[in-house]
C-alpha cells in the first residue's frame, strides 16, 4: 500500500495535479497578501470565491464566453471588496465581521441568487457546456520535453496566470508608486496620511484588488476545476489562503510556496483516496490540508515568537 503511494507520487501527473490544485489557493492567497499589505485582514475570501464563482459561471453562460465570465467574476469580486470596504472603513464595522458577513452571503446567499437568476437549486450542472469553460493551453516547445512538458504544459490559462501574478504582485508592491503607498499604509498609516496619501483610498484599492484576485480564484473553481458551480465547491480554500498568506510572511513568493504546500496536501488526498484499501479513510484524508494548515500556522507562530524575545513583553497593540 505504501509502495503504491510512493509510486503514484513520483509521477509527472502528480506534479501536474499539484499545480492545478494550487492555482485557486494561490489566487486567494495573493488576494490575502495584497489586502494584508494594506493592513486589511480579509477573512471574507471564502465567501468572495463562492459568489464570484457563481457569477463568473453565470456571466459565461449568459454570454457563452469564458472570457466575459472571468472578467465578470473579477468585477463582482471588486464590488464585494468595495462593499466590505464601505462597511469597515466608512461605517467602522470590524473588518473581521464584514468578512464573516460576506462569507454568509457566500454560503446561503449564492443559493438564493442562483435560484433567483436561473431557477436552479444547489448547482449549475444543467448549464455546463465546454465552450464556457476556461480552455487549457499547450505551451509550444515545453510540451515536447518529456516529463517537464507533462507537468507544465496543458494547464488552464488561469493556472499560468496565477503563477505569473506572483511575480507581477512582487513588482507591483516593490517597484510601483501605488505599491509603495499601499505598503506604507499597511505599515504606518499615520506616516502615509501625513504626506497626503489617503489611507482609506489605498485600503479600498487593496481590498478591491483582493476581490479581483478572489474573483479569478472563484472563476477558476467553477469554470475549470469543478466544471460548474456547486454549493460545497470552495470548501475552505478561502480560509486556507489566509493561512498561506500568514505562513508566507505576507510576501507573494512566500505565499506561493505555502500555497504549493497546501496543493501538495490536497493532491495527496486525491491520490491516496484512489488507492486500494484506503477507501475507508477518505474522510480522514480529506482532513489533511486543514491539519497541515494548523501545523503550518503553529510553526509560523513559533518562529515569530522566537524573534520577539525580550523586548516585547509589553503587549503589542
Amino acid at each position: 500500500m505504501f509502495e503504491q503511494l510512493i509510486q503514484s507520487i513520483f509521477q509527472a501527473d502528480f506534479l501536474f495535479i499539484i499545480i492545478r490544485i494550487t492555482a485557486p489557493i494561490l489566487f486567494a492567497a495573493l488576494a490575502a497578501v495584497i489586502s494584508e499589505k494594506a493592513g486589511v485582514a480579509n477573512i471574507g475570501l471564502e465567501g468572495m470565491m463562492m459568489i464570484t464563482a457563481l457569477f463568473g459561471f453565470l456571466f459565461a453562460y449568459w454570454t457563452q464566453s469564458w472570457i466575459i465570465g472571468v472578467l465578470g467574476a473579477m468585477f463582482v469580486g471588486i464590488l464585494l471588496g468595495l462593499m466590505m470596504g464601505f462597511f469597515s472603513f466608512k461605517l467602522k464595522t470590524d473588518i473581521i465581521l464584514s468578512g464573516i458577513a460576506v462569507n454568509m452571503l457566500g454560503a446561503g446567499g449564492t443559493i438564493f441568487l442562483l435560484n433567483m437568476f436561473t431557477g436552479l437549486r444547489g448547482n449549475t450542472g444543467a448549464l455546463v457546456s465546454p465552450n464556457i469553460l476556461i480552455p487549457t493551453i499547450d505551451i509550444p516547445l515545453i510540451d515536447k520535453i518529456p516529463i517537464l512538458g507533462e507537468i507544465l504544459s496543458g494547464h488552464a490559462i488561469l493556472t499560468y496566470l496565477a503563477f505569473i501574478f506572483v511575480f507581477l504582485m512582487r513588482i507591483f508592491l516593490y517597484r510601483t508608486p501605488l505599491g509603495l503607498k499601499i505598503r506604507a499604509v499597511g505599515e504606518n498609516p499615520n506616516a502615509a496620511s501625513s504626506v497626503g496619501v489617503s489611507v482609506i483610498k489605498m485600503k479600498y484599492i487593496a481590498i478591491a484588488m483582493s476581490g479581483a484576485l478572489a474573483g479569478l480564484g472563484g472563476a477558476f473553481m467553477s469554470m475549470y476545476y469543478s466544471q460548474g458551480w456547486n454549493q460545497g465547491m470552495v470548501a475552505g480554500r478561502g480560509f486556507i489562503a489566509l493561512a498561506a498568506q500568514a505562513m508566507g510572511r505576507g510576501e507573494p513568493v512566500g505565499a506561493m510556496f505555502s500555497s504549493l504546500l497546501f496543493g501538495l496536501a490536497q493532491a495527496m488526498k486525491t491520490k491516496v483516496s484512489g488507492l486500494r484499501g484506503m477507501a475507508s479513510y477518505n474522510y480522514l484524508i480529506e482532513m489533511i490540508p486543514y491539519v497541515v494548515t494548523i501545523v503550518g500556522l503553529v510553526f509560523y507562530a513559533m518562529s515569530i515568537k522566537r524573534k520577539a524575545r525580550k523586548h516585547q513583553l509589553r503587549p503589542i497593540k
Binding site: 470590524d94 465581521l97 454568509m104 446567499g109 433567483m116 480560509f239 474522510y283 503553529v298
Partner: protein, 373 residues
Amino acid sequence: MRDKRMVLFGFVRGAAAIALALAVGAIFIFLSSDEPFTALRYLLIGPFVSYHGGVTAFNTQNFYQVLAAMIPTIFTGLAVCVMFSANQFNLAAESCVLVGGFVGSLIGIYVNMTTGWHAVVCVLVASVVCGLIMLIPSVLKVKLGASEMVTSLMLNFVLLYIVLHFLNYHFADRSKGATMTFPFLESAKIPSIVPGNSKLTWGFVIAIIVSLLVWIFMYRTRWGYAIRMIGINESFSLYSGMNVGGTIILSSVIGGLLSGMGGSLEVLGRYNTFVWRELPGYGWTGVTIAILAKNNPGAVPLAAFFLAYLNKGCQLMSTHSDVPSEMIDIIQAAIFLFFAAEQFLSGFRQKLVVKTTREELMRTESLTATEGE
C-alpha cells in the same frame, strides 16, 4: 443627560439597522419574486399568524417551532458572546455543535443508563468533550500567538471530517439507506414540554436558565469580570495583574462547553438518530446573535428569538411563494453589517454629543460665574 441620550440613540440605531436589513431583504424579494406581497407577508407575520378561510388566528404550533429553533442558537450565541467578550474571534462553535451532537448521540445509543440520568450524562459528556476541543485554538493562541480565528476555522473542517469518518465507518446503521447511526435509547431523549410535533423540549428551558447563568457568570463573578476586562483592554488587564492567558483559555473552553451542550440538546431533542452530515450552521448564527446582543448573555434569548422568527418566516415564505429560504442568509448578512457598524448614524450621534457638551459647558460656566460673585 448625556447617558440617557446615548441609550436612546443606541435603541434608535439598532432598530434602524434591523429595518434597513429587512428593506434589503424586501428589495431582493421584489427583484426575484412574482408574488412579492405573499412572500413578504409570510416572511414578516407568517410565523405567528395563520389564515383559514379569511380568519386570522395565532398559530401556536408555529410559535412552538420558533421557540424550539432557538435551542441550539441560544447556546452558540452564548458561546460566541463569552469568547468575543474576551476579544477572541474563535469561530469553532460551528463544529463544536456538530461534535457535541455526535458525542451525545453515541452515549445515547451505546451506554445504558436509567431514564433521567441518561440524557444528563449525554449532554454533560458532550459539553466536556467540546470544552476540551477548544483548548486547541486557545492554547495555541496564548502560548504561541497563532491566530485563533484561522485555527478555529480550520478546526471546523477537521472536526467535520473526523465526525464523518466515525459516522460512516464505525457507527453507521448499515440497514438504513442513508448514513445514520442506530436510534437513540428512549432514556437519552430530551422530552418535549408541549404536545404536538414542535420539538419544543426541555432543552429550551435549559437554554433560558443557562442564559441567566452565563449572565451571572459574566457580570457577577471574578472570572467573567476578567474575561470582559481582557476583552476591553488586554494591556490594562495585564497591568492590573490578571492572568490574561488563563482567562482567554477559560473563555474558549466555556464557549466549547456551551456549544457542545447546545449540539447535544438539539440532536437528542429533535431527532431519533444522528443524521447531520455537514456543519449545521448554528455557530455562524451564534455570531450574528452575539452581535445583536452586543455580547450581553441576557439579551441572547431575545436575539435568538428574532433570528428564529426570521428563519421560520423565510421557510414559510419558500413554502408558500417562489422565494427560496436561503434569503435568510442575505438578511442576516445585512443585519450583521449594519448592526456592527460603529459609525452607522454617527453624524447624528456627533450632533447629540456636541449639543450635550455645549449645554454642560454653559451650565458649568454659569455655575462658576455665580460662585465668583
